[in-house]
Symmetry: C2
Subunit: 354 residues, 2 copies
């Protein structure tokens, strides 16, 4: 059967002051429609049954992981003793899933990305699962780039895949965040997609590749799972995690593997990497996007959010203003990348607000 | 003897969100050195004895009028039943003062203006009191204009006053807030001063002019004061105030009187009319001026104040940011005149924050 693993282990600071050390981006309601993780899960239905949706997150985030709120069974929420990037997270989920469904085909998806065209998303996800099942290969979803972004990974496609319908391609290479010049070449060539971070695979494929490329993770995880369902399991898992390297599936497996496929597809994807990209996702160019207790007069192209009191903004253009708890952030849209640095400075100076 | 009457009846909204309906500008600590009224009183010492410093304010402001904090005797704080502009306020003070000191010479000064050169201020105030005593005329203090401001009243001087030392002039006319073109002509002519709002007079002069130009105020105030010191007084005063017109000394007396004098003098005066003028008063051009819990990164020419939490401002230029209580204001420096309108809108929509 088909399963989805929602990877919710990230801890971001780029949405400070809403994101905090103890409240990562995936647990924020950035769009006004629910938290990122809620939205991520919701858009899977009715493509999947709720028993086949899994969440992997950090133990520290347990307070944010109500099975009732997420709409999936409590036993489908898998807690990692500590964060070691996506390879251990997905390995944990796969080890768990195969114990119920040895023939599982799995899509792994970040918990904190946004999708505006849910119908298109479900369609390509369904197709990806079918291709992964049939071919036994890793399948990635690529996003046709709209501009030479330097903050994303890129996937260069090769030939159309022989067994596909013309929308599936072999992968020539993965490229980490490129220079602006390289990004421009990539976009111009027409052969590159942004890496959506979503990848699909058969459970047996994943286990095979994991044992080949990251054998230390595979072996230790299997060892821990020999006590699965017994009271020693949490301790064994903790011990295994202590030994894991911190490594992503992209870097640890995909970039070392042959025969990976990519399906480029538009589904209104955004990784919502910054306040600016949230603004762009929610509003038309030039629009003000507001949430909460705000009063705007003669503003243009602003994102203004306040969770309390009153935020009055007069005559401003191209700015982000966010009030959350006791903290307020003000910065130009063009500098929302720098929020990360501000959050780090706050962590040093006023840990209670970081 | 010399006396000063500090006029503290104003209610401004241009410093929202720090100024509120129940906390006018004169009771704010805008400079970090004390409230405006505290500073106004402090700069009179040691020119005057504290028994000779008087405050006239509204009954509603009594909570802000601690005689200990202000450093003057409690009996020198005179409360008006309601605000009727400066003519009734000064009339009240004069009626009170002459009952202790019939030969009083009095300077009336707004409670909410700033002075950076206190030594020069005391010098010109002393001179003004001497001239007022000797001549029995009203004496105004004029500020040599530095730019064609349209927000101030102007005083056009005539000839040097025959009995003066060359720094005292007759007044040709008072002009209310002029057009920009007129303001430019005024500044260019060299004959105009800004009206500082400070005026000096002998008590007998004031009473004579009040009875001539505003007889209804004079008569009703005298009638109320016939019961001064008795328990009927507050009721009589309240009844008198109910009948008073709301009128300023400038408009009701000075503009109708002959023989007024002006002493133009620089003493680092600012009426601190807006957040922008506060910024200019406190900082050099281009400087950031901050108060309280703020974190600035790569900002220029900003005024940032916060009374709680953390206000983080990144990469902004020429803006005012003020957090006070539950309210936050953000606007360009160039638009700080509009704060008044914002405060009015808040008053309609969220009275608790106005």
């Amino acid at each position: 059967m088909n399963h989805v693993v929602v990877m919710a282990g990230g801890s971001g600071t780029r949405f400070w002051p809403e994101s905090r050390v103890r409240r990562s981006k995936q647990f924020l309601d950035l769009t006004g429609r629910g938290t990122m993780i809620q939205e991520t899960i919701r858009r899977l239905f009715p493509l999947l049954r709720k028993e086949n949706v899994w969440v992997v997150a950090g133990e520290k985030d347990a307070p944010h992981l109500s099975s009732r709120v997420l709409g999936i069974p409590a036993r489908n929420i898998l807690l990692e003793p500590e964060g070691k990037n996506t390879a251990p997270a997905v390995a944990l989920a796969v080890s768990r899933i195969v114990r119920r469904d040895p023939d599982a085909v799995i899509a792994a998806a970040p918990a904190d990305h946004a999708v505006s065209d849910v119908r298109a998303f479900r369609s390509v996800l369904g197709k990806g699962l079918r291709v992964a099942r049939r071919t036994g290969r890793f399948v990635t979803l690529g996003i046709p780039p709209t501009h030479p972004a330097t903050g994303y990974g890129y996937i260069e496609r090769g030939e159309p895949f022989a067994g596909g319908d013309g929308t599936v391609f072999t992968v020539r290479r993965f490229t980490e965040k490129p220079s602006l010049a390289a990004a421009r070449r990539f976009v111009k060539s027409g052969r590159f997609s942004w890496n959506s971070g979503i990848f699909l695979f058969r459970a047996d494929t994943f286990r095979d590749r994991l044992s080949r490329h990251l054998p230390e993770v595979h072996v230790a995880m299997e060892e821990a799972f020999r006590s699965f369902g017994r009271k020693e399991f949490p301790g064994k898992l903790r011990a295994a995690y202590r030994r894991f390297p911190s490594i992503s599936v992209d870097y640890g497996i995909l970039e070392n593997d042959k025969g990976i496929l990519v399906i480029p597809a538009k589904f209104g994807w955004s990784d919502l990497g910054t306040w600016r990209s949230l603004h762009e996702f929610l509003g038309k160019p030039g629009e003000n996007v507001t949430f909460g207790n705000v009063l705007l007069a003669d503003c243009r192209n602003t994102l203004v959010r306040s969770d309390r009191g009153l935020l009055a903004v007069v005559g401003m253009e191209d700015v982000i203003v966010v009030r959350s708890g006791e903290a307020v952030l003000i910065c130009p849209r063009s500098r929302s990348e720098e929020v990360k640095r501000v959050a780090e400075e706050v962590r040093k100076k006023i840990p209670s607000l970081a």
